[in-house]
Amino acid sequence: MENIFRDAFTPLQSGVSEFRHSWGGFTTVFSDKKELSQQLQLLEKENKQLNFENQVLREYKAEARRLQKLLDFEDTNQANFDLLPARVIARSPDNWYRYVIIDKGSKHGLQKGMPVINYDGLVGRIGSVSKNSAQVSLITDREVAVGALLQETRDTNGIIEGIGNINHLRMVNIPYYSKIKKNNRVVTSSLSEIYPKGIYIGKVIDISREPNGLLLSATVQPAVDFDKLEEVLIITAYHPISTDDEVEE
């Protein structure tokens, strides 16, 4: 009798159990989906945060690399120059003048006329100084001129002039008999009182004859990428290396 009852209820019980099981699975799908969706949102958020952190770290890495180059440059040139690093905080607000503002001023010992370089080459000179900042006239500025010579031949003296274009400089007063060629490296000469001798300015990319026929002029591509200039070094003092000949004299 007991078994008959049990057997009679069995299909019903198993049906209910089946239903409970299916319903349980069904609700689990929903609850799991909700949980998964929350997890997905969290992971997406975390991913975005990590991406952002990664971007920041890449920026730091690039900055560290630049600063390392500056430090290396400072170390190798310590014997000749006293260098003061500075950060570019603003640029010229118009197209006629080419200058940058740096975060060091008279408080840090800067004076008007001090040469400014970075690890690529010559940047310019200090144009004006305030207490906490200074204006650096870039060599691409129309008002800046630098005595220059060719590093390879050493025989061609000329003057590098800014033409207001950040990608080009003009070298003028080159004698017509000069052996100047394309890709010659141009460095500062000893003619200038402001700039130490031998600082890399750029390379010759084009040569043309002046209308008078006696002189040549050259277009020079600056070594420094002025668009990406973020840190500079100011030469606060320099000690020219005296050669044996000069010592004898």
Partner: protein, 167 residues
């Protein structure tokens, strides 16, 4: 409040040009936001106020740059004077008036600066890159001028730049 805002506008323009816009220069050329504000002011005000505002904005720019003081003051004052003279004959509600105004003002301002530079500097280098620089600046100025004109016009009619007499 209007005068404070008119004073702040060139300050903000110089600040933006020397920081933010320098990262987005077109072939090394930057927009002249100060000129844009001067032109819009001149299009919406009388010739005397416009000339004075143009001159003062230019002077502020010259003082900030610390080079040849007066060159921008004269150039912008003159540009503002010409646009102040023209403002009675144009339909100011049209945004194209602002854009075309900036287009011609950029050329006029560049010519003024060029002439003044030649007069003032003995060693001023005339180069084709200057023409390119002005060309790119025209593009930049025109692009920037459209949204700025909408804001400037609305502010001058009903907002913060409305003069006291019109309230």
């Amino acid at each position: 409040m209007r005068y404070i805002m008119l004073f702040l506008l060139p300050c903000i323009a110089i600040f933006l040009q020397s920081t933010l816009f320098s990262f987005f220069s077109i072939k090394g050329a930057l927009p002249d936001m100060v000129l844009i504000f001067v032109v819009f002011f001149a299009l919406l005000n009388n010739v005397y106020k416009s000339t004075a505002y143009g001159f003062l904005c230019g002077l502020m720019e010259d003082l900030y740059m610390g080079r040849f003081i007066g060159i921008n003051a004269i150039a912008k004052g003159l540009t503002a004077y010409i646009f102040g003279k023209l403002q009675g004959n144009v339909f100011k509600e049209n945004i194209f008036v602002g854009i075309i105004g900036v287009f011609f003002a950029t050329i006029l301002n560049a010519i003024c600066l060029f002439v003044l530079s030649i007069i003032s500097f003995d060693t001023f280098h005339i180069d084709i890159s200057m023409v390119y620089s002005v060309f790119y600046q025209i593009i930049y100025n025109v692009l920037v001028s459209a949204p700025v004109y909408i804001w400037f016009y609305n502010s001058s009619k009903e907002g913060i730049l409305r003069s006291v007499g019109e309230r």
